[in-house]
Symmetry: D2
Amino acid sequence: MAKHTLLMEGPDAKGLIFHVTSVLFNNECNILRQDEYVSPNGWFFMRTEFVSADDFDTQKVLVDLRVKVPSEEIQFRLNTQKKKDIVLLCTKEHHCLSEILIRYAFEELNANVLAVVSNYNTLQPFVSKFGIPFHYVSAEDKTREEHEVAVLKTLDIYNPELLVLAKYMRILSPDFVSKYSNKIVNIHHSFLPAFIGANPYKQAYERGVKVIGATAHFVNNHLDEGPIIAQDTREVDHRYSAADMARDGRDVEKMVLIKALKLVLDDRVFIFGNRTVIL
Amino acid sequence: MAKHTLLMEGPDAKGLIFHVTSVLFNNECNILRQDEYVSPNGWFFMRTEFVSADDFDTQKVLVDLRVKVPSEEIQFRLNTQKKKDIVLLCTKEHHCLSEILIRYAFEELNANVLAVVSNYNTLQPFVSKFGIPFHYVSAEDKTREEHEVAVLKTLDIYNPELLVLAKYMRILSPDFVSKYSNKIVNIHHSFLPAFIGANPYKQAYERGVKVIGATAHFVNNHLDEGPIIAQDTREVDHRYSAADMARDGRDVEKMVLIKALKLVLDDRVFIFGNRTVIL
Amino acid sequence: MAKHTLLMEGPDAKGLIFHVTSVLFNNECNILRQDEYVSPNGWFFMRTEFVSADDFDTQKVLVDLRVKVPSEEIQFRLNTQKKKDIVLLCTKEHHCLSEILIRYAFEELNANVLAVVSNYNTLQPFVSKFGIPFHYVSAEDKTREEHEVAVLKTLDIYNPELLVLAKYMRILSPDFVSKYSNKIVNIHHSFLPAFIGANPYKQAYERGVKVIGATAHFVNNHLDEGPIIAQDTREVDHRYSAADMARDGRDVEKMVLIKALKLVLDDRVFIFGNRTVIL
Amino acid sequence: MAKHTLLMEGPDAKGLIFHVTSVLFNNECNILRQDEYVSPNGWFFMRTEFVSADDFDTQKVLVDLRVKVPSEEIQFRLNTQKKKDIVLLCTKEHHCLSEILIRYAFEELNANVLAVVSNYNTLQPFVSKFGIPFHYVSAEDKTREEHEVAVLKTLDIYNPELLVLAKYMRILSPDFVSKYSNKIVNIHHSFLPAFIGANPYKQAYERGVKVIGATAHFVNNHLDEGPIIAQDTREVDHRYSAADMARDGRDVEKMVLIKALKLVLDDRVFIFGNRTVIL
């Protein structure tokens, strides 16, 4: 018996759920969980978790689905559950990186952490405790383009399915991003869209906010503007300096990043324009 | 075009979703939202919101469903959306009652509030502002049984589909409860199962808790032990007296009760043993 | 025995707490609660709640304080606890207004609600239930200036110590604001500084946020930029339309406004540049 | 310039704040932050953070304080800020232990982690990465008394000021507890007093709760009944199995334990009967 996830999206039409459940029924599958969403402008999303017999034939099921749902506008992705290959990028701060590495070390993530890449070597000794390759790709004496080329070359060694920016404090060029389109997850240390850009805690302090936050999102070409996956907030008061906000904010950041990462690793996130649908 | 909700539950079997979507498809209905849940011991729950053409035939659809799903163990409830008739019971505290009445007055609830019944007349002047019948059924000089008979007689006037105990500070007898089986929603002023029974804030204060809470639940024969619909919590600190906890707790209570009430009024709650499934 | 609140602020100096506690000690007062805060740039804030004998002489204590703390840069405000006179401004939405009126009706606020002023008469029937004067000051056929003059004239009748904008959907001119400097509390339906200005829920929906919020703040000359008193947030997901966000957001708005209002009415809020210190 | 914390408690009396601030003023100290609390039954607590000149004389200040406040019922504790020596006890689960070790490794805790003691050797390889002594004290073939003697003997090597039970799954005898009276912090995996004892997530699942929680508390002779330091909660729904609750609950547990631990390490917690006062 094997477990599978079928992701489906496209223009809504009468009978879509019926057709999919019919194909799965005829292929001796039992649905464990099925969630749908139809956007106000008529885009249909469905995630179906199901179990099959051992002789499950992925290609046959995909063909059967296409026969019943001939419109090429409707996409199917059928994943037999397996761990995704990921690479982590970081700079000097450890809190997001260590949260991921600890969970990886204790096999709590649906991922293989292949390597850590950093523009500083600060965290090398820490990462080495976990037996994971650490690539120090300094940006010194390099143009942004040269640095990105060097990073991309390092990433090529691993061919990751997902990049996680675990407090990687450099802005990626559109070129870089396009090479990992919809495959880069970032954690931003504010409650977006408040405090876009540099020093969000300093901005938050100066505005005198009573709540701080963090945002995990996919990266697109515009800084801090990609589709949001998860956000959370925490109360602060007038006693908090910008540094205090940063200190407590780190706890929010790491927990929000982990939440988003788990959703992505479990195939629960659809990207829909500049938004996410999470089923 | 009309909007409907189909609730279905019973032993899980291969093809249930397929059969239901097939019947709806063949009856020219379009599904807006469908949510399922299968319990670990194999009980299947599904809630389907759909729109039909104007000539929708409820009886025909129910017959079609039974043909496809012949097992009598599987129950269907098909509701064309309409407001439920409810009666509110209260004692002296206003906060839950006023929250419901205000929302009712501004047509924000999927309910008709038919009447308020109370063992005190304290809130009569307030309720009268809203043009809702107020029945003062004093418990003085009455046995518990006599009082309940009087209350039940008053309820009989209205034949409500749901009773809401909006801080009704009397314990209902099993006899009373059995007459409104699975139709009574209560708000308890603690985070159940902590602090069952009387004076929960006093108990919470004495235990030195750092968080207080409230619980909305269906009422069964055991005090504060029916299926939980919604819970929420709020931080407190050592400066809170039991009275301070009660004061802030009231805000939690009213918001939790409203949350639970909306779920029940929108046909989103299944009772499953001593638990609820909310789809 | 009477209860008092002493608010004090000014440049920090050694011995300030000592001097104040010394004066209160010598005047036979007992401190119930004392909270201080010193800002990073050396501004000292202190709030002292204390009880006195019945023959307490406010003027004598203020003179004694000034003798011990001669610097005129340091301000003292000594309030014997009493209810503040407030006027509420609203437009068409009831949720903030009704929350305040209900609490006022049940004597849960440290305030006298003198009147409600609105640019629409929508809520007049509701307000009249509470026996509070309702002034309908239409903005139709008036310039902004003319409308504000009319509103100010109405306010003059009541001479309120505080104005509460309970979803008053008009922008106040700097002239208006200057007449009630630091005396206007507004509720904004977003987590400021995100989504300043009109239609914040539409903005939030389009950005695809996973958390919405509300902000209560003092009003200054720049739209949505005055000192923040309280904020709170609530989770949303992709199923929320902008209208759904607005519906659930209303619950956050009213609870945040009540929280801020209570803090202001209890003399717990200092304005410090564009920030608040809450003791 | 040195930083100090003065903790004071005892029966309330007029002038206590005045006397303390007077002594500090006369000893050339400047108060950074001072917080007080008086319990309803008249017990006074105060925490004062202050800076002194380098030639600060602790003994002289304590003598000066006693002269002004002669009542022996009033206790003073004057700590010049330094890291506390702690030992961690664990069993097989890593999440609380790893959270503490990571923060210790990056110097984010006001503590020296001297050693880890465990009744299993499961976490030895992990702990060894951090260069901290790991003592495996098996309970096999030992009575509870024998095991505790062995643990106490190990602890004697380190003479810790605080023991942290980081998911140490054994119940301590009153004898053991009395040796570290008010010096043991435990994390319990439920929102106490709900679900005291074994398998709280199983209990929570069976009760059908909609919110789970965790509680950090000092240990006294009664299981799960010592003074609570911190609590937090998280929403769950009907889809959560007991195992799912345990999985998500671990995130709450580790963050609550860290919060409590920081408060204790920063000398912010007073024990007051079975409650805590946190200033």
